[in-house]
C-alpha cells in the first residue's frame, strides 16, 4: 500500500512537471511581445525593450525556465507582470473561494447522486424512468445557464440568497454557505446527472450478483443488503466517475464564478489570460493541476481502502 502510494505521488509530480513545462514553453515561445502588451501600443520601442529587460525576457528561454522551475519547487511562483504582486499570494487569495465552491459542489454531487442512483436502482419503475429522462436534460443545460436562472429566481426575485460575492468561511459560516449555495447547486447539476446514472448502473449490476441473493437468503433486512453490502461494492465505480467529474467541476467553476461575482481562480485566470500575464497564468495552471493530482491521490487511497484485494496486498 505504501509503495502504491509512493508510485502514485511520483506519477503526480511528473504530471505537474510535464504540464508546467508545456505551459511554460507555450507561453514563452509564442504570442505577441509581452513588453508591448504591458505598455500598450503607444509606448516607444526603447521603453518596450527596457520592460523586456526588467522582466528578464532578454535572457535565453532555457535559463528562464530553469529559474522559474527552481523558484516553483521552492514555492515561489514569481511576480505578476501587471501588478507586481507575488503570484503565490494572488493564487492563494483566490484558491479558498474556488475550493469552497468546487468542494461544496462535489459533496452535493456525491450525496445527491448516491441517493438518486440507489433509489432508481432499487425502486425501478417510473422513478427510474424519470431519473433517466431528467438526467439527459440536466446533462444538456450549461451550468452557467442554471446559475443565471437560479440567480434570477432566488437572488433577484425572491432575495433569499445573495446574488453576488463571497463571504469567507472564517468570517461567518452561515453567510459563507449562503454565498456558495446557489453557485454550488448550479455547478453540480451536470455532475449529478452523470454520477447518478453511473451509480444506478453499478447498483443494478451489484444487486444482480450471486452474493446479494445469498445475503438475502440469510434473511438480512433489505436496508443492510442494499445500503451496506451492495452500495459498498458499487462505491468504487461511483468514486471513479466522481473523481473525473471533479476535474469537470473545476472547469465549470471558472464560468460559474463570473455569474455569481466570486473572485476565485477562474476570475483570476480569465483576467490573467485576457491580459497575457504569463507568470500568473502559469501559477494558476500549476495550482489547478496540483489540486487535481492531490484529489486523484486521495481517490486512489479511498479506492484502495474500498478494495480488500488492494488494501491487504
Amino acid at each position: 500500500m505504501l509503495l502504491f502510494l509512493l508510485r502514485r505521488i511520483g506519477a503526480g509530480v511528473v504530471l505537474v512537471w510535464v504540464i508546467a513545462t508545456l505551459t511554460f514553453f507555450l507561453t514563452s515561445l509564442t504570442g505577441s511581445d509581452p513588453g508591448r502588451r504591458i505598455l500598450g501600443p503607444t509606448a516607444d520601442l526603447e521603453a518596450v525593450a527596457a520592460k523586456r529587460a526588467e522582466l528578464g525576457l532578454d535572457r535565453p528561454v532555457l535559463e528562464r525556465y530553469r529559474d522559474w522551475l527552481t523558484g516553483a519547487v521552492h514555492g515561489d511562483l514569481g511576480v505578476s507582470w501587471f501588478t507586481n504582486e507575488p503570484v503565490g499570494r494572488l493564487v492563494g487569495d483566490a484558491l479558498p473561494v474556488s475550493l469552497s465552491l468546487v468542494l461544496a459542489a462535489t459533496v452535493l454531487t456525491a450525496v445527491v447522486s448516491v441517493v438518486l442512483g440507489v433509489v432508481a436502482a432499487v425502486r425501478g419503475g417510473w422513478l427510474d424512468g424519470l431519473l433517466q429522462s431528467v438526467s439527459i436534460v440536466a446533462f444538456a443545460v450549461p451550468n452557467f445557464l442554471v446559475g443565471l436562472v437560479l440567480s434570477l429566481v432566488f437572488a433577484v426575485q425572491l432575495g433569499v440568497f445573495p446574488a453576488l460575492g463571497y463571504t469567507p468561511l472564517a468570517q461567518d459560516p452561515g453567510r459563507w454557505l449562503a454565498s456558495i449555495a446557489l453557485p454550488a447547486i448550479a455547478l453540480a447539476i451536470g455532475a449529478i446527472a452523470t454520477v447518478a446514472t453511473q451509480t444506478r448502473g453499478s447498483m443494478i449490476d451489484v444487486l444482480g450478483q450471486d452474493y446479494v441473493r445469498t445475503l438475502r437468503s440469510r434473511g438480512l433486512p433489505t436496508r443492510s443488503v442494499v445500503l451496506k453490502h451492495a452500495l459498498r461494492n458499487a462505491a468504487p465505480t461511483s468514486l471513479t466517475v466522481l473523481s473525473l467529474q471533479f476535474i469537470a467541476l473545476i472547469s465549470g467553476a471558472v464560468v460559474i464564478e463570473k455569474v455569481f461575482g466570486l473572485s476565485g481562480l477562474g476570475e483570476r485566470a480569465t483576467s490573467a489570460a485576457g491580459q497575457g500575464d504569463v507568470p500568473l497564468v502559469l501559477g494558476i495552471v500549476v495550482v489547478a493541476v496540483l489540486v487535481v493530482v492531490v484529489v486523484n491521490i486521495v481517490v486512489d487511497i479511498a479506492l484502495g481502502w474500498l478494495n480488500p484485494k488492494v488494501r491487504i496486498a
Binding site: G125, S217, T222, V225, T237
Partner: protein, 614 residues
C-alpha cells in the same frame, strides 16, 4: 458542463456489440423511434436555419445601435434587441452557425486523433499503447477551460482555435472507448482465425475491427457534439469567443449584463442551447438502441431490483395434494412464469408438487432448464423481481408461505430455511470479511452480541472442517480456496439452526476430491440436526449418496417421484430411465449389478448438461 464525462469511468468501458447484420436495420429502427425522429427533426431545423440565415433576416447580427438597445418585440425586430441594440432573431440564426461549426470542429479533431490512436493502441498494444494511454491520462487530468484560457491568451480570441484545442483535450474520451472496443474484439476467435488464414493486418482491421469500433464511436460523437456546444457557450459567455461573431454564448453574456432590465433575453439562447444539446443526447441514446450496442446498464424498464415477488394463490382449482402432517415443506401446483418481450408470459415451472419431511433429504433432479432451481428459489422467495409465482399449496412447518410480506419472509429466510448456493466464490461478498458475513445474520436473527456471534462462528467454522477458524474468520473471500468458501457458505446456511436446508447444486463447482467431503458434511449436519433438505442436483451420484427421496423434473414438470432405492431399482418413467442410463453409460460397473447396489463413487458421473448449469 460535465466535460470528459463522455469518456465514462476510468476503466475500459465494456461494450457489447452485436454482429454486423444487426446494423442493416439500424436506420429503420432509428426512424421507428419517435424520440429519435423528434431529435433529428430539431437538429435538421437548426442546421437549415443556420444555412439560410441571410434569407431569414435582413438584419446584421453584429451591428449594434445604442438608440435601439433593449427594443421590444415587433417591427424590424421579431424577437427584440439586446443590450446594445443587436437584433435577437438575427443573432440566434447566425449563432446557430457558430455553434454547429464549432461542435463539428471539436468532433473532427477528436476523431482524427482518438480513432486511429485507439485502433493502433488496442490492436498492436506494446509501446504505442503505453505512450498513448499515458498521454490520454495526462490530458484527462486537465481542467479544459483553464487550458483553453491559456491558449486563447497566447493566440488571441478565436472560437475556431478554441474548439480545435478542445477537440484535442476531449480526444482521450474517443481514444479510450475505441481502444477498449478493439481490445475486446482483438482476442475474439474470429480475429485469431483471420490471422491464421493469413489475412493482412489492414484487411483484418477493415473487415473485423472497424465494424466493432464504429457503433460506439457514432454514439459518442453524438454526445461530444452536445458537450462541445456547451463548452463553446461557456467560453463565449466569458467573453473569449471570436469578436464580431454572433453566438448563443455571447447572447447569454449580454442577457447576463441586462438580467435586471430584460430577463427575457435569457430565454432564446438558453432554449436554443438546451434543446440542441438535449437533441444530441437523445439521438445518442436512440442510436445506442438502434445499433444494438449495450453498455453495462440494462435499459429495460424494471420493477424494483430488491422487491421479492409475492407468491400468489393459484387461481385454478388445482387438485392440491393431501398435505402430509409430517411435512416441513409442502409444495402443490407451483407455477413460475416470466413476462416475455412481447408482453405474453412464458411459464417455466408448470405445477410442481413435492414434500420435504423433517429429517428427510429430497433430491430434486433434472437437466439444465428443467425448472429445478426455479422451484428452489421460489420456495426461498429469491426469484428475480419480474417472476410471477403462484401455487395451490405452499406451506412451511404448517404456515402458508403464499402472500407473505417481505419482512415476514425475511424472518424465515436464514433463520428457519438455510440456503447453500452452487458457486462458492461468487456467493461471498468480496468487500467484507468472512467473519463479518457469518456473524451478521446471527446477530440479526438471534440477537447475539458481537462477541457471542464470533464465538459461535468460530465453532461453526471448526465444525465444517476448516483447519484454522480464526484465520479464516478474519480473511476476505479472495483469500480462501473454493472448497473452503463452500464450507463457509454451509456454515452460514446452518448458523441460525434452520429446520430446512435448500442446497442448489452444492458440489457442482468443486473439485472431485472436495465434492465427496462436502456431501459428507451436509449429510452429517443433516443427521445431527434432523434437518429437512431439498437438494437440487443433476448428478445421480449425489442422489444415490445422500437422498432419501427423489423428485425427477423435466421441462418444468415432475415426471417421477419415489424413494431413492426404489427409483434406482425400478425407474417408472422413460425419462428417468434415460437419465439413469446416461449416467451409467461410461461407468465400468455397468452390467449385471443392480443399480441400487452401486457405490456412489462408481456412478458419480455427472449428467450431460445443456450448458450453463455450473
Amino acid at each position: 458542463m460535465s466535460i470528459l464525462s463522455a469518456s465514462g469511468p476510468a476503466g475500459p468501458a465494456p461494450v457489447e456489440v452485436l454482429a454486423t447484420p444487426a446494423r442493416a436495420g439500424a436506420v429503420r429502427r432509428l426512424l421507428g423511434n419517435p424520440v429519435a425522429v423528434g431529435a433529428l427533426v430539431w437538429l435538421v431545423l437548426i442546421a437549415v436555419l443556420a444555412v439560410l440565415a441571410p434569407l431569414l433576416t435582413s438584419q446584421s447580427p453584429t451591428a449594434s445601435k445604442i438608440t435601439e438597445a433593449l427594443a421590444p418585440v415587433g417591427g424590424d425586430h421579431p424577437l427584440g434587441t439586446d443590450g446594445v441594440g443587436r437584433d435577437v432573431w438575427a443573432q440566434l440564426l447566425y449563432g446557430a452557425r457558430t455553434s454547429l461549426v464549432g461542435s463539428l470542429t471539436v468532433v473532427v479533431v477528436a476523431l482524427l486523433l482518438g480513432l486511429p490512436a485507439g485502433v493502433l493502441a488496442g490492436y498492436y498494444r506494446g509501446w504505442f499503447d503505453a505512450v498513448a494511454s499515458w498521454v490520454a491520462s495526462l490530458l484527462m487530468a486537465l481542467p479544459a477551460i483553464i487550458v483553453l484560457l491559456v491558449v486563447l491568451a497566447q493566440f488571441g480570441r478565436s472560437t475556431a482555435l478554441a474548439m480545435a484545442v478542445f477537440g484535442v483535450i476531449i480526444a482521450p474520451g474517443v481514444f479510450r472507448l475505441v481502444r477498449a472496443s478493439v481490445l475486446a474484439v482483438r482476442e475474439e476467435l474470429f480475429v485469431d482465425a483471420a490471422r491464421v488464414a493469413g489475412l493482412s493486418d489492414a484487411r483484418i482491421m477493415r473487415r473485423h475491427v472497424l465494424p466493432v469500433v464504429v457503433p460506439p464511436t457514432v454514439i459518442q460523437v453524438s454526445q461530444l457534439l452536445g458537450i462541445a456546444i456547451v463548452i463553446q457557450a461557456g467560453l463565449e459567455f466569458l467573453g473569449l469567443g471570436s469578436a464580431n461573431q454572433a453566438s448563443w454564448g455571447g447572447m447569454l453574456s449580454d442577457a447576463f449584463q441586462n438580467i435586471y432590465a430584460q430577463p427575457r433575453l435569457l430565454l432564446w439562447p438558453g432554449l436554443a442551447i438546451v434543446l440542441t444539446v438535449t437533441a444530441f443526447g437523445l439521438l445518442g441514446n436512440a442510436l445506442r438502441d438502434a445499433l444494438g450496442v449495450s453498455g453495462r446498464v440494462p435499459r429495460v424498464r424494471r420493477r424494483g431490483a430488491t422487491t421479492p415477488p409475492a407468491v400468489l394463490p393459484a387461481d385454478e382449482a388445482a387438485p392440491a395434494p393431501a398435505v402430509d402432517p409430517d411435512a416441513l415443506l409442502a409444495l402443490g401446483g407451483l407455477r413460475v412464469a416470466y413476462p416475455g418481450p412481447d408482453g405474453t408470459e412464458r411459464e417455466v415451472v408448470h405445477g410442481v408438487s413435492l414434500t420435504v419431511r423433517r429429517g428427510e433429504v429430497v433430491g430434486l433432479v433434472g437437466e439444465s432448464g428443467s425448472g429445478k432451481s426455479q422451484t428452489a428459489f421460489a420456495v426461498l422467495g429469491l426469484l428475480p423481481p419480474e417472476a410471477r409465482t403462484s401455487a395451490a399449496t405452499m406451506t412451511f412447518d404448517g404456515a402458508d408461505l403464499r402472500g407473505l410480506s417481505p419482512a415476514a419472509m425475511n424472518r424465515l429466510r436464514g433463520r428457519r430455511i438455510g440456503y447453500i448456493p452452487q458457486e462458492p466464490m461468487s456467493n461471498l461478498d468480496p468487500s467484507f470479511t468472512i467473519g463479518s458475513q457469518l456473524t451478521e445474520p446471527m446477530r440479526h436473527h438471534l440477537g447475539l452480541s458481537g462477541a457471542e456471534a464470533r464465538t459461535r462462528a468460530l465453532a461453526l467454522l471448526d465444525r465444517v472442517g476448516i483447519p484454522d477458524p480464526a484465520r479464516v474468520f478474519g480473511s476476505y473471500p479472495h483469500q480462501v480456496s473454493g472448497g473452503m468458501a463452500q464450507r463457509v457458505l454451509i456454515a452460514g446456511a446452518v448458523s441460525c439452526d434452520p429446520d430446512l436446508l435448500i442446497a442448489d447444486e452444492p458440489t457442482t463447482a468443486l473439485d472431485v476430491t472436495v465434492q465427496a467431503e462436502v456431501l459428507d458434511l451436509i449429510r452429517e449436519l443433516q443427521a445431527e440436526r434432523r434437518l429437512g433438505v431439498l437438494l437440487v442436483t443433476h448428478d445421480f451420484g449425489v442422489v444415490a449418496d445422500v437422498c432419501d427421496t427423489v423428485v425427477v423434473m423435466r421441462e418444468g414438470r415432475v415426471v417421477e417421484s419415489a424413494e431413492a432405492e426404489r427409483l434406482f431399482a425400478d425407474p417408472q418413467h422413460e425419462y428417468t430411465r434415460m437419465l439413469l442410463g446416461s449416467t451409467l453409460e461410461d461407468t465400468p460397473a455397468r452390467g449385471s449389478l443392480p443399480a441400487s447396489d452401486l457405490h456412489p463413487e462408481e456412478i458419480a458421473v455427472p449428467l450431460p448438461t445443456a450448458g450453463g448449469n455450473r
